[in-house]
Amino acid sequence: MRDFAELYDEIDTTTSTNLKVDAMARYFRTAPPADAAWAAYILSGRRLKRFIGPALLWRWLIEASGLPEWLVSESCSAVGDIAEAIALLMETAEATKVATDVPLADWIEQRLLPLREAEEAQQREAIITWWRTLPYRECFLLNKLLTGELRVGVSELLVTRALADVFGMPRTELARRFMGEWRPSAAFWQALRSGEAPVQEASAPYPFYLASPLDADVQTLGAPEDWQIEWKWDGIRGQLIRRAGQCFIWSRGEDVVTERFPEVVDAAMEWLPDGVVLDGELVAWREGSVQPFAQLQQRIGRKKLTAAILESVPVRFVAYDLLEDDHADLRGKPLQERRARLEALLAGAPEVLAVSPLVTAACWDELAKLREESRARSVEGLMLKQKASPYGTGRQRGAWWKWKIDPYSFDAVMLYAQPGHGRRSNLYTDYTFGVWNNGELVPVAKAYSGLSNEEIAELDRWIRSHTLEKFGPVRAVEPSQVFELAYEGIAASRRHKSGIALRFPRILRWRTDKPAQEADTLRNLQAVLDQHRGRKEPN
């Protein structure tokens, strides 16, 4: 348990997500399989029910410490936590603290679980002996386990990230095996590592169908009546899966984010029948309108999901497609039919489960006008979906278009970083970004601003630990981090390798939800350029 206690301490003394993930990865690499399985179980928020009530622990503490009750009481209120107070008060005779290190799995399976069946006298005897012999950190951890209050500042998402890193396995693959119910054991761990652990089929999402940016004149799409038109939400694309008596939410980045949206889960469990999969958008929602994406990030970001965040950032799942109904895959059916079934399914549902409203217009010009309202409505533009289309896979062009508004934005991969100037000269704050072209990343923009100080600090740490090469002050970094960049104008340029020059590029946000492969392509940017050739842009 010593290594696990050290890991707990490392996680407890940093606020950096990356350091937490690194610490977990280091532990998982060296821990015996059964220990690693239990650690992953605990870290991912799967709780062990409490073994001993606080009243008994209190009584035994008074007896074992030899202190008067009033003094134990005063000490506890100064400390504010009985598990910690016990560890502090029992850390007396340093000399006896030579307990041999018992593995975490043995602690739980051979010592704690049998405690439930033991007589009170045996429980007392065992616990007081442990208190007297365990070093502080382990004693603290033991008490947290005993009281069933062991909370660690990481989420299932971060544990999955660390495990994927350790096993060299895609996160999606890993998450499908790790999620849901499992019994922590060496066998489970080996199976997880070798990829033989059964996929939790019930949880598996369908591949997301992705819209392409509209790069042609909208008039060329034919009759507007053939298109289902919706607002383009600024949230997290997700699949809400209701199967096998459970509920799962997968994000577009193929992460399981179920635990981050408890109110959506509650509503889904209450309203949806088994065998249903919805495609839609998780958005922050308050007083009848969608809130900026930055708010939603608090739900998925590094912070523990507290009651305060749940209250200050209410969310909705805005559904726009029905992929599975009554256990049947509907993806081959025309969108029109899926939409009708979706509306019927969610009629009268709790507000948290909303249907994305349709936007109607008599002609494309009228629609273009409506699109101008996007900013006022806090949406990113319009989605145009062919009513007759099946639900495709990946980014098949032609059936789904996203018709975004200016400022133009695109997703790019960070390639290089260098230190800033003045008071930021100790931090990597100047970045170069690239987009895909024939399987290669081509630099297209430099950007300096747009991140919060906290993100800058985190990114700086990431850059330092993911440098591939150094050229003077410039570091080439692992091309894995995606950022959404905005720009004010686009022009052709011979001076740039990419053939385009962007005006005023800036960072809109760090897309930790997006893998690098899904960043934009140079072709997308060129299409925007072609579309706007008529406009005068400075060279």
Partner: protein, 303 residues
């Protein structure tokens, strides 16, 4: 006040407004530094008696900071000892606490709860060094907050067991460190942080007073990890409330076992307690048959 007998140079124990100040000789330069050069400071050796009015007075080491003293007062056949702030752990920057016998003992009680118990200092300083190295590996600076007088120099002296690398210090720490060096205390080399030249602080250890935390002065270090050296860091809630990344439990005060041992060893028939959790210690001693009570003073809880 006509004559002030000073136990040590911390702000809550040293006030202006007296006609003369008597201090233990090793602490004279510190007291002079704190009071200003015009003030009449008289240095006396530890253990050498002098008279104040009808009382026979002597100063004895308290082990708190350089030149800190307990004050022994003998008058009409009765002996009183005022401990001032003290600790019982070894400290390379000052003379160790000297146990005295007395009738009435006035003791500090800053950390008088059984949860406060100090690990040996070298063990904690080793933790600091490991933390510093880990931050260096990440390419960032380590800002260690310590009280400018006493704690900073004690850490700088204890660091000698691990390194001879220079440590950066805040101006307030630097000035006092110079006084300590002139008094013959050996510490690792220090460089005072200045505003003039561009210094690359990545990987460096910087010692600064807690008042510098979160101020614009910290910006020059870029991204850094922060640690705080204090007895209060023993409790996790205090660590988290104060917002430092790490807490290192090093105190210049006596912990619970040292307070008990010291109060009982004086043989005093009455113990008066000041600072912090004085009520708890008073009650505990009373239940053990020692007449003890809390005493209101103007002392603070910081140093």
């Amino acid at each position: 006040m006509q004559t002030a007998v000073i136990t040590h140079a911390h702000g809550d124990h040293l006030r202006h407004g007296s006609a003369r100040y008597i201090v233990a000789r090793p602490g004279a330069s510190l007291a002079q530094h704190r009071l200003g050069s015009g003030q009449p400071v008289t240095a006396v050796d530890y253990g050498t008696p002098f008279t104040v009015g009808a009382a026979r007075v002597s100063l004895h080491p308290a082990g708190h900071v350089l030149g800190s003293a307990q004050v022994r007062i003998e008058h009409a056949g009765e002996v009183w000892v005022v401990s001032g702030d003290y600790k019982r752990q070894p400290d390379p920057t000052c003379t160790p606490f000297e146990p005295l016998q007395c009738d009435v003992f006035i003791s500090e009680a800053t950390f008088a709860l059984p949860v406060y118990r100090w690990a040996p200092t070298p063990q904690v300083v080793e933790e600091i060094v490991r933390w510093w190295r880990a931050n260096r590996d990440r390419g960032i600076a380590s800002a260690l907050f310590c009280y400018a007088l006493g704690k900073s120099q004690r850490v700088l002296a204890e660091l000698r067991a691990f390194t001879d690398e220079p440590v950066y210090v805040h101006g307030a720490v630097g000035a006092l460190t110079d006084v300590y060096r002139r008094a013959g205390v050996e510490m690792v080399p220090t460089l005072t942080v200045t505003s003039e030249k561009k210094t690359d602080y990545r990987g460096a250890l910087i010692i600064a007073p807690p008042s510098a935390a979160g101020t614009p002065w910290m910006r020059r270090f870029g991204e850094h990890a922060s640690g705080f050296c204090s007895g209060w860091m023993r409790v996790r809630g205090d660590r988290r409330r104060r917002g430092y990344d790490r807490g290192f439990v090093i105190s210049d005060h006596a912990d619970w076992p040292a307070l008990l041992e010291t109060c009982l060893a004086t043989g005093a028939r009455r113990v008066l307690l000041t600072h912090g959790h004085s009520d708890a210690l008073a009650r505990y001693l009373t239940e053990r048959g020692v007449s003890a009570s809390a005493l209101q003073t103007a002392y603070g809880a910081d140093e």
